[in-house]
Symmetry: none
């Protein structure tokens, strides 16, 4: 079950950190590593720091974009150090790990934890793919953990959660909607909003679609629920089209 | 209180690990580092890996022997990967952290956690100085954590134990939407769905509006977010009405 949980490293600068993450994962029984556009990989420093976890490193999948890395995923959690939790669901590492384990028991191979760059973490756009943000409680005066340390802590909490297994396996009528299905839903919604000449008067100063995405992320929609919402959008469009025809 | 807890590194080979431990400590609010006979220190690699925790590194005390490092201590805990717990009290990292915090509250400045060499850990003789051994639950097939990772995990557990409550107060732009506001939103949505002759083909056997309510409940909408969604619904209705008038 732990085997199916995916750690995604986005645009890691230092190959040593990639190796350290591989080792940290294996120490805790995880093995599935995905690298989004690593600056240097493979690299001797990565191999050195991986120590006995060279198998995890060798099996790492390298992709170009975050959407590719999580294309087939259900639950996606993202780590963040900065305080930009507004509108996101935020959980601490321990609670996140319990969710990850419960989810992975119900829907194996489709849970991802995403880590950003050493310098900037994840961009706001990258965060939009996440159902929730993981916050590691740290010293407010020096909060920024090295990425491999963050991975170690979360891997450890996942192992602890798996050992204790406090939550029952998550049961769903249908698997969580994929990021792709969510993208299609957002495009569809945006089309309906444009078609209705919707002008926002509330979310001044914030990017409206970003805000809408975050609120739906928090809902953690399953595939059927996305279909229901898209069905409503389609009905609205058809009605408009029929009205146009009559006219 | 966290400030008084001492991390003791015994005969560390790689100066990079010393820097990484300093950073890991500072991230979790610890600052007191003692180095027993480090192979190379100070060292540029230690400084580089310490990142913003150079103050912890600069204040590190360097001594010749473990007994010197812990001479004035009360509780001493030692980390170990190998299974040589016989006759020792062995606790996991979480339980150890609770002990450390309870002890440090009562007896500040006199608690030490001791970490061994990268290669061999602590010798049996060195372990004898410890009241208990800390065991980090790890993959039995690949148990040996990097020393800085072990320090990170234990520092984190100490911080978690000290905090008790792990999450900061939730910050919101606007208070959570009231149940009344949610009711008005659901009525509004239902009106738009009826108006569009929406017939559900997905949620067979389940009550559709119940399903929709639950998915929005999970999103935990604030008042502004409900207003955005209602704004979209109103725009859709107005567009339809204008289309009807033209007709």
């Amino acid at each position: 079950m732990l085997n199916g949980i995916r750690f995604v490293l986005v645009e890691t600068s230092h190959p040593g950190n990639i190796g350290a993450v591989a080792r940290a994962m294996k120490n805790m029984g995880l093995s599935r590593l995905v690298l989004v556009k690593p600056k240097e990989f493979p690299h001797p420093e990565a191999t050195a720091r991986a120590s006995g976890a060279d198998d995890v490193l060798a099996a790492a999948l390298v992709v170009e974009t975050l959407p590719e890395a999580i294309a087939d995923c259900g639950l996606v959690l993202a780590t963040t150090a900065r305080t930009r939790e507004q509108f996101f669901r935020v959980v601490d590492a321990r609670t996140a790990a319990e969710r990850v384990v419960a989810e992975a028991r119900g829907d194996p191979g489709r849970v991802a934890v995403v880590f950003g760059t050493e310098r900037y973490g994840l961009s706001n756009e990258q965060l939009l793919a996440a159902h929730a943000l993981i916050r590691i409680p740290a010293n407010p005066e020096y909060e920024s953990l090295n990425v491999s340390m963050a991975a170690q802590l979360i891997a450890y909490e996942i192992r602890m959660a798996a050992l204790g297994a406090s939550l029952p396996p998550t049961e769903r009528e249908a698997p969580l909607a994929t990021p792709e299905a969510m993208e299609r839903f957002y495009s569809h919604l945006e089309a309906v909003m444009n078609d209705a000449d919707f002008r926002d008067r509330t979310a001044t100063g914030t990017h409206l679609m970003g805000r809408i995405r975050r609120l739906f992320s928090r809902a953690e929609l399953d595939g059927n629920e996305v279909n229901i919402l898209r069905g409503i959008l389609t009905a609205v469009q058809n009605k408009r089209r029929r009205a146009g025809d009559e006219h």
